[in-house]
């Protein structure tokens, strides 16, 4: 076949370019534009340069919520990844039981975020919520609206309930893809259960785990609705995460310039950490 060079073919890329431009580039540039201005109202915008960035980087409220955010995402990954792998390992391999477990696991994933928040808000209440009432009658002084530790515990528990099934389902699919011969060989080689996990299952789960870690990190790092509905960020600001701080700043205080600068930094952090995770996992076992 003879290839005919024809640069007009580039026009074929135009629809995609336009789509990406309108869905990502234009809004992003708007944010970039806002981030270098102080906006008081329509027609009342003043160029301020990098002032917002400097301020955002030294703003204590933001830094506190950034720390909380790291703590939360860290906890989410530390709990949900091992727990998800554990659940996947214990799930039945086939038959009716497997289908049943899969359906049960998938249920939390189908519930909308704010409904999840509402469910746990009621569930955790000491007076009418089964969970809160049960804890209280067992003698625990549990009150998620008043106590920081209880609030964190409830937010984490809610997220674990909502999203661990995703990790479990991903790992389950990864485990099912391992050929039976590997288990047979391990049995012949007299490998312990731990060795089977460490040398057969875990290496073969790597790809799904990359996806699971990235999804759970990004999702948890951007969490908004569920804690907002459950605790409203309280008590005090103990469960106020980055998204909520940002929303308060942009919509509550109509501080568009500062919120825009903050959004950009927020975006870069998510991007950077996702990249770090990805690079770390994919390069972990490259040959020296």
């Amino acid at each position: 076949m003879v290839k005919i060079p024809n640069n007009r073919a580039w026009w074929l890329v135009l629809p995609v370019f336009l789509l990406v431009a309108f869905s990502a580039l234009v809004p992003l540039m708007t944010v970039v534009n806002y981030s270098v201005q102080d906006i008081f109202g329509p027609g009342q915008a003043y160029y301020v340069g990098t002032e917002w960035f400097k301020e955002v980087l030294t703003n204590e409220r933001l830094q506190d919520s950034l720390m909380r955010q790291f703590l939360f995402s860290g906890a989410v990954l530390m709990i949900q990844i091992p727990l998800g792998i554990g659940i996947a390992l214990m799930m039945p391999k086939s038959g009716m039981k497997a289908s049943l477990v899969l359906i049960l696991l998938a249920i939390p994933l189908l519930i909308p975020w704010n409904v999840v928040g509402t469910i746990w808000q009621i569930f955790g209440r000491g007076d009418i919520g089964l969970f809160g009432w049960a804890l209280n009658s067992m003698g625990f002084d549990y009150n998620y609206t008043g106590d920081t530790v209880d609030a964190w515990f409830t937010v984490l528990l809610m997220d674990v309930w909502h999203w661990t099934p995703l990790v479990a389902l991903l790992c389950y699919s990864g485990l099912r893809a391992i050929p039976e011969a590997f288990y047979q060989a391990a049995e012949i080689d007299r490998a312990s259960k731990w060795a089977v996990f460490r040398y057969i299952q875990l290496p073969r789960l790597k790809n799904v785990l990359i996806i699971a870690v990235l999804l759970r990190f990004m999702d948890s790092f951007m969490i908004y609705t569920e804690p907002f509905v459950l605790t409203g960020g309280g008590p005090g600001s103990s469960t106020t995460f980055l998204s909520q701080t940002l929303t308060t700043m942009a919509i509550g205080q109509f501080d568009l310039g500062r919120a825009a600068a903050f959004s950009l930094i927020y975006f870069l952090i998510v991007l950077l950490i996702s990249w770090l995770f990805f690079t770390a996992i994919t390069h972990a076992d490259k040959e020296k």
């Binding site: 047979q184 060989a185 012949i188 080689d189």
Partner: protein
């Protein structure tokens, strides 16, 4: 090392077998002696791999017993039976180096580190992968992976037996031959009971001292390659071993011999005697292409046949002849010449003429 005995063993993959066709292995008794090199030969689906998995313990037989040195091991796992098995397709631990792969079974057995090192190097030398010991196993070629896979089977010194399930399927022919020799050498050196499953007769006879031929879930013959060739115990063995396989002709009983389509074939006296005593009418005679003699002039007992085809295979010729409506293959030397359609005279030497009743060989009784 152990003697492996199978006692009235049968296996069905169906939970409620209703008939013989539901069984992958039908009622068999067999002994694999200590330190022997055996091949288990048979076509695809004859139950070879099933039998191997039952010996290793990956599969529990539905009926009968597996005995290691007289001890019943039915309920024991492969781990407890201390058995090594190499699979058809390479199974490697791809996050480990070649060294760690080979050392894995030893580490699991708590062998001291110094011994592990020595043993792994020894096996790697034999398999010629010594220079790749510190490479990641997943970067190896398919051949090398299978060598690693085999190495893991060979590395333990104290195993009851090593089982090979068509281990050379993925290896290219040149290397196949070499590896087979290697296995043979390893067997001679370490004197471990080895059972080698294959559907390739050449592979079986180069590796094994004795071959068990499986057909329809049963071992139809267990013997040396020569025995299988000269005295096939079952028509299937005759047909399966040899290239081309044995000529088998359905025949009818006659005094002093047998007859097919008006062609009379005389038999030995003892064969005739035995033939009078059996009831079955499922009779066949069999003779290897190598043993049929062709001459141009008739003699006593010779049969007239016409030549249908002559194939020159380079070092010998395969002649297809027709006798009484039956096509027979005859192996002749390179200097045999005949025109298609020519009439020739066949001679069946009596010591090579086998008689089969219900597919099984009628043997002379001592």
């Amino acid at each position: 090392m152990a003697e492996i005995q199978l006692k009235s063993l049968a296996h069905s993959y169906s939970a409620t077998p209703t008939g013989a066709e539901d069984y992958a292995i039908r009622q068999l008794d067999h002994v694999w002696e200590k330190g022997g090199a055996y091949a288990l030969l048979g076509p695809s689906g004859c139950g070879k791999s099933t039998m191997l998995n039952i010996i290793s313990g990956l599969l529990a037989p539905s009926e009968g017993d597996v005995l290691f040195d007289g001890r019943r091991v039915n309920e024991l796992s492969p781990r407890e039976r201390n058995i090594a098995q190499v699979f058809q397709f390479p199974v490697i631990y791809d996050s480990m180096t070649v060294f760690d792969n080979l050392a894995f079974p030893l580490k699991n057995n708590k062998v001291p580190t110094s011994q592990i090192k020595a043993r792994v190097h020894e096996i790697a030398e034999v398999l010629e992968i010594g220079d790749k010991l510190y490479k990641k196993a997943k970067n190896l070629t398919a051949d090398e992976k299978q060598k690693v896979s085999m190495g893991r089977g060979l590395v333990r010194e104290d195993v009851s037996a090593i089982l090979f399930d068509e281990p050379l399927t993925v290896i290219d022919p040149q290397l196949k031959w070499k590896l087979r020799r290697k296995l043979k050498q390893i067997h001679e050196k370490f004197d471990i009971t080895m059972v080698y499953v294959t559907h390739d007769q050449l592979e079986a006879s180069t590796f094994a001292d004795k071959i068990a031929v499986m057909y329809g879930g049963q071992i139809v013959q267990f013997g040396t390659p020569t025995e299988l060739f000269e005295r096939p115990n079952h028509t299937f063995v005759g047909f399966f071993i040899g290239s081309p396989g044995m000529n088998l002709i359905p025949v009818e009983r006659r005094p002093e011999g047998v007859m097919f389509n008006g062609v009379f074939v005389p038999l030995e006296a003892w064969q005739n005697n035995l033939l009078q005593r059996v009831k079955s009418d499922n009779l066949k005679i069999g003779i290897r292409p190598e043993f049929i003699e062709i001459s141009e002039s008739p003699s006593d007992d010779s049969l007239e046949a016409s030549v249908l085809d002559v194939e020159d295979l380079g070092t010998y010729k395969i002649v297809t002849v027709e006798v009484g409506g039956q096509k027979l293959k005859v192996r002749q030397s390179e200097d045999f010449h005949s025109d298609v359609g020519a009439s020739v005279h066949l001679l069946f030497p009596k010591q090579w003429l086998m008689l089969y009743v219900d597919e099984f060989l009628i043997k002379e009784q001592q």
